[in-house]
Symmetry: C2
DNA sequence: GTCTATAGATGGATAGAC
DNA sequence: GTCTATCCATCTATAGAC
């Protein structure tokens, strides 16, 4: 962790973001100090300001980059298959993302309150765009009668909440394997739309 | 809001708790100052310490009292009906509680990270006890084959997450009435267990 | 690029007057 | 029961040395 004085632009920047992500996710944005982040990286607090104009921007960019990546990656893999296949793919993609990047997902979910008004609007639009990806799948299935859904919008929100909840309890090495969890949640999602 | 100096023990105590609840839910525990709470109540910060030993205890008691009430009220109304009826009752009870006491539910859900180790253990046990109430209903339905569930524990958690998510988007006066929301979520929950 | 030092603000909590 | 005043810790962010 500790590091001697010198030039390390290539590693310090990402290290700061990684430390901030981990600490924000664990303790909450407001409860984490810049000194704490710096200490985790092995620099002094002042050095952080070479990489971010302020703490708020650090939080905002973590959330924004995460959500943009989440959406872009999904769009790159969503194909025009039948709605049930697309839904299965979405469910497993979403939960798989939680397995590997749980802190990112958690942060984007928990720290909305600590964004400035302007940053909140940007992040909220991204969250809505991601939700719309699932909603499009459900709507497609309703149109061709492979799904039976009473309210597409509410079902979308309910399903996202259900899937995101996996981060509350899942830990690697526990009672269930990742594959088991994927199977169970896909089964629940499938039933929610009568597929 | 502002109030003259004098004795107001009967109203100041509850007013402090109400203000703290609202502010903690809106901005997060760590982001709210004791001065802010006091200002909302119409007293100075020092006066708060006549009613709570410290800020941490204020948070803890809000969460603890809410969860104890949530569990006690449910236990007082859960009867030994058939599992599908009991599940319907639970779903509507849980969401109904969100409608009327959204801040309490939100707080107990979001501020776990800001509890001291000891307080966390207490609150976590209460949360688990509430989860167990739903799990008992699902397990009963699995035993008598009115439900078809692949993993009772995971289904319990998934359902709680789904139901709790209603607080993210529901607002009175929106597109859907409370009754519509209850109906839609009950339908989703019913499908999750193939009832 | 990082450090030391510090300005300037704000935080939780307490003491003592009323 | 509440207020004023304040202690002391801590915070974000900046300035200037290296």
């Amino acid at each position: 962790m500790a590091r001697k004085t010198g030039s390390h632009a290539e590693i310090t920047g990402p290290a700061i973001r990684a430390a901030a992500l981990r600490l924000f996710a664990r303790s909450g944005y407001a409860a984490v100090s810049m000194r704490e982040i710096a200490s985790e990286v092995g620099v002094r607090a002042g050095a952080l300001y070479l990489y971010t104009p302020d703490k708020q921007t650090l939080l905002f960019e973590l959330m924004k980059d995460h959500l943009e990546g989440l959406i872009a990656e999904w769009r790159s893999m969503d194909v025009l298959g039948a709605p049930p296949e697309r839904l299965e793919k979405f469910v497993k993609y979403h939960i798989g993302y939680h397995f590997d990047r749980g802190d990112d997902v958690f942060l984007a979910y928990m720290e909305l309150r600590n964004l400035s008004e302007e940053n909140f609007a940007t992040v909220e639009a991204l969250r809505r765009a991601y939700e719309d990806e699932l909603e499009a799948v459900l709507a497609a299935g309703q149109s061709d009668n492979t799904f039976e859904i009473s309210d597409v919008r509410v079902t979308t929100r309910a399903m996202i909440a259900m899937l995101t909840g996996v981060h509350v309890w899942y830990r690697d090495g526990g009672r269930l394997s990742r594959d088991s969890v994927l199977r169970i949640y896909w089964d629940l999602a499938r039933r929610m739309v009568n597929a």
